[in-house]
């Protein structure tokens, strides 16, 4: 039984025992389950699970920050008296190769400032990204590689 599943089972047991089937209670039960797993982490091998959870959370935080930034920058572009954009599509060579990771990366890129994943090449080696400001494609590629892609590799490998 994998750990997340065990965590869920714990949550369900909690819900049943406490007699309330509300979502809040389920989430509460999940947290309690995680806590109890934390307590017994050495014996059930939960170390990886928990630290990965932490890294995923950190990815999430990064993402929310980027999202807000993205919206803000777009807002600025849009609200200037004259629209000043230099858009274009650049190719980004992918390091990640699992489908889910590619998808995650692409989605995160879409949500970051001024970039939008248009497509993945058929061989899954290249991600085509549309950027509002495409004057420095190499810089953009570097930002992605050091930002989201690295975080993803950390969280899922």
């Amino acid at each position: 039984m994998t750990l997340p599943l065990m965590n869920l089972v714990l949550a369900l047991i909690w819900v049943t025992v406490s007699g309330s089937f509300s979502l809040v209670n389920l989430v509460f039960g999940f947290c309690l389950g995680a806590l109890s797993l934390l307590l017994v982490r050495e014996h059930v091998g939960a170390v990886g699970y928990l630290s990965r959870t932490r890294r995923i959370l950190s990815l999430l935080l990064l993402f929310i920050r980027e999202l807000l930034m993205s919206a803000w920058r777009v807002a600025r572009v849009v609200c200037r008296p004259t629209i000043d954009v230099r858009p274009g599509i650049f190719a980004y060579p992918l390091t990640v190769d699992r489908d889910l990771e590619i998808a995650l990366l692409a989605n995160l890129i879409t949500l970051t400032p001024g970039t939008l994943s248009v497509d993945v090449s058929a061989d899954r080696r290249t991600l085509y990204v549309h950027a509002l400001d495409c004057s420095d494609p190499d810089g953009a590629r570097r930002d992605i590689a050091d930002g989201f892609e690295r975080k993803i590799l950390e969280a899922f490998r």
């Binding site: 007699g19 489908d99 889910l100 590619i102 998808a103 692409a106 994943s117 497509d119 993945v120 899954r124």
Partner: protein, 138 residues
Amino acid sequence: MRSVILRATAPYLTALMVLFSIFVLLRGHNEPGGGFIGGLIAASAFAIYGIACGVASVRQAMHFHPLAIAGAGLMLAVLSGCLSIPLERPFLTGLWAFPAVLGGDVGLSTPMFFDIGVYLVVVGSISAIALALEEEDS
């Protein structure tokens, strides 16, 4: 639709939506929702799944022919009405049982089965249409 991005995420989205649809279905008796809306959400989920991963995957996921599911839904709804026959109650009388295990407000009832029937009909029928149109296209 051949998109790695969609294909990788669609199963999760679909699962999430189906889960949500069941949630909407089951709480319909007390809050906005119910079988029809739940069914629509589930059908939307299957539609997205179909667009992402192909009609065949959806058919495999649903296991039964969507219309058979719809038929089963109608049958369930009608039979839940017929459950009153042995109890000498009129057709479609709401029968409730509150099994002690769960306690509280949650009960098993014929209206619930009826609503599940509605849900199945909508899921089956709308999915069938969506799949047929999708197949027609490709």
